[in-house]
Each structure stands twice: as structure tokens, then as C-alpha cells.
């Protein structure tokens, strides 16, 4: 049995920029691999968490029913859940649709938008139902830590994970706190 900490990551309504930023820790990922192993993550292409994961990093907000399902399942398997980036924390850019009725958003995108051909609102039953509003994840599950930024810098991920791996209470110094 490995005694490395298990780290899982996943994405909801976001752009995957937080994952890209995480990978910007570059060669430090080798040091991280000494103390941590990746479980569910786009990096490993594992689709569901192991029974229990130590740290779950989740980017993106909630814009559809599938996001809510994914979040609840992820929360269930993670001892420590970390909201990563503006979308997970306050809905971010996707939440800019929140003061526009959903019907108008869909009509603008699929019926009346510039350059739309064969206008039709997608209605395949496999498509997850959209929520009326985009929500940050703390409105649905308990969140243990947040990493602000759009995206948080690689140094934020590094500082946070190395703090936890060393048994320290994670803290972000002034220069690492950014909302953009």
C-alpha cells in the first residue's frame, strides 16, 4: 500500500484553464509525484474516484444537472474538497448569464445569433438540463478550502499542496491572492 496522498481533480462549468494552470507547476510535478498520486483526473483519464481520496480539486461552477451530480459524487469521495478558481468560487464568467432569462440565452445562441445556420435549440435527451442560474459550488456542498484566481497560478497550487502534504495548515501569502 502506498502512503502517498491521493489527489483527484475534475471540472464543472469552466474552461479547464485551472487544470492548465496546475500543469504549469512544470517539473515540480515530479516532486509532487513523490508524495502524491493522482486518482480521478483528466490527467489520468480515470472517470470516477477511488473509494476515498484525500484531496479533491474542483474547478468550474454549476450550470447544469450533470454538474450538480458530478459535484455531489466528487464531494462524497473526497476528504478535503477544494474549490479552485473564480467559476467554482462565484460562478465566474459563466455566471454572467445569470441576469438574463435562460430562454433568451438559448434563443440568442441558437436561433438569433449572428452567423447561425439551421437555427434550432438543441434538445437531444442526452444533453444535461441547464439550470436557470449558474451557481458557485459552496451553495450545494461543503467546501473546505478555496484557491482564488482565474486561474490560480501554478504557485498557488504548489503552495497549497505542499502545505497539505507537509501537514501544515494551508495558507496563501499576499502575493499569491488574485481574483483574475
Amino acid at each position: 500500500m502506498s502512503n502517498k496522498i491521493k489527489v483527484a481533480t475534475t471540472s464543472l462549468a469552466g474552461c479547464f484553464g485551472c487544470h492548465m494552470s496546475f500543469l504549469d507547476i512544470d517539473e515540480r510535478i515530479l516532486d509532487l509525484a513523490e508524495v502524491a498520486e493522482f486518482d480521478r483526473s483528466p490527467i489520468t483519464d480515470i472517470k470516477h474516484c477511488s473509494d476515498k481520496v484525500d484531496i479533491g480539486l474542483i474547478e468550474g461552477g454549476l450550470c447544469n444537472a450533470e454538474n450538480v451530480h458530478t459535484l455531489r459524487e466528487f464531494r462524497e469521495h473526497c476528504k478535503i474538497l477544494v474549490a479552485v478558481g473564480a467559476c467554482a468560487i462565484n460562478g465566474g464568467i459563466p455566471a454572467m448569464r445569470n441576469h438574463i432569462p435562460l430562454e433568451e440565452c438559448l434563443e440568442e445562441a441558437y436561433l438569433h445569433g449572428v452567423g447561425v445556420e439551421n437555427p434550432r435549440i438543441p434538445d437531444d435527451p442526452e444533453l444535461p438540463l441547464l439550470l436557470n442560474k449558474v451557481h458557485p459550488i459552496h451553495e450545494v456542498v461543503k467546501v473546505d478550502y478555496v484557491l482564488p484566481g482565474c486561474p490560480p497560478s501554478a504557485d498557488v497550487f504548489w503552495k497549497f499542496l505542499t502545505d497539505l502534504a507537509s501537514g501544515r495548515e494551508p495558507s496563501l501569502p499576499y502575493e499569491l491572492v488574485h481574483y483574475d
Binding site: A86, N90, P136, V146, L147, Y179
Partner: protein, 243 residues
Amino acid sequence: MSIHTISIDGQTVPFEDGDTVMSAATRAGIYIPHLCHNPEFTPHGSCKLCTVKVNGRNCTACTFPADEDQTVLNNTPELTELRRTITQMLFVEGNHFCPSCEKSGNCQLQAVGYHLNMLDGHFPHFYPSREVDASHPDILLDRDRCIYCELCVRASREADGKNVFAIAGRGVLNHLVVNSASGLLKDSDLQASDKAADVCPVGAILVKRHGFEAPIGARIYDRQTLAEASLAREMRPEGAENE
């Protein structure tokens, strides 16, 4: 002339007749977080970020007169917690999406969040519906970002002599209104060279065609903390420029 002093966090700070706790602190190089305060305009006392403890009572430093025998607490964990909560409430009651805002990096609301180590909004978000007024050829009014500090109201009245802005409504219906027959900015007297167009501490009133002029890393609060920038700006006796 006798020298009057107050104590701020144990430091002896001189004050002059007419000083507020804020003005005495600023002159002494002590930063008290604030958003609605600007020494160029009449104090307003609305944002409450500058709440300090004066002889055991909470007071807004920007409006509270300095007086003999005052023991002021400013930089304490309790007040930082209080100010962080106030800032979180300001964030969740508006639509503050920093990544999409051209004021990002130069925004005092954002910078005060950094100063207080605010990592999230904590409270459920309101996501209010607010009108954007892009009618003016040179100035944009995005009410999503308004924090009701009334600096534009005061600047228009006191510096520009125009009375372009006012706050109307109460509670969640509170909103910034424009003094013109149509209610639109284009029909008001506001000009891009007015103080009121330049004084907004957040991205609610922006002069058009000036966005993103400084790259990330070179913006005001990339280079300086809010405390440094604020003191440098406000310790100057005259003609302090706002970002």
C-alpha cells in the same frame, strides 16, 4: 500651540483641529482600509470598511473627529475579520466578475479583498439584475459593479458643479441614477474630463477606449499594495489623482 495626540494601535499620532481619525492616521502614514473615503470630498461614512475601535466603541474613522484621550484600535484580528465580512458582502450583493472587468488590477474593491486576505465571497450570491448604460459616447456606466460609495455623486457635485449622479431606492432596490430627462448618461452633462468620470474606485464608471492599457503585472495593485498606493495618493496635500 499645544500638540494634540491620539493613540492608534499604541502609536502616538498628532492631530490638528478638524481632523478625523482617518485624516490624522493618513498624515502619520497609518493605513486604515476604506472605499467610500477620499480626502478630496466630504466624508460619507457609508462603506464601513474604516471601522475602528475608539475607546472601545466601533466608529467610522473617516467621519469620527479625533480628540484628546482617544485610544484607537485599527489593525486587529477582530477588525480585519469584520472588514473582510463587509467586503464579502459588497462582492456578493453586486456582480463582481474580476476576470471580465477592465478595472481589474486597478480596482480598490479587489485590492481591499487582497489586503484582507479574502479568498471567497462566503455568502450566497445575489446575482442582481442591474442596468448597464453604454449610451454615452465616452463613458460607460456598469451598475453591476457599483458599491454605492457615492464618490461620483460627491465629485460631480463638489468638483464638477454638475450634480450628474445620485443614489435612489432602498435596500436591494438601491441604484445609481443619472440626472437627465431620459435617465441616460448620454443626455447628462457628464464629460470624460470630469472628476466624476474618473473617481470611481471600482469599474462602475469607466472612460471608454482606455481599457487594458497596462498589462497584467504592471497595473496599480500588481506593483503596490493598496495600503502603499492609498497612502501615497492621500498623503499628498493637493491634487491627488485617482486611478
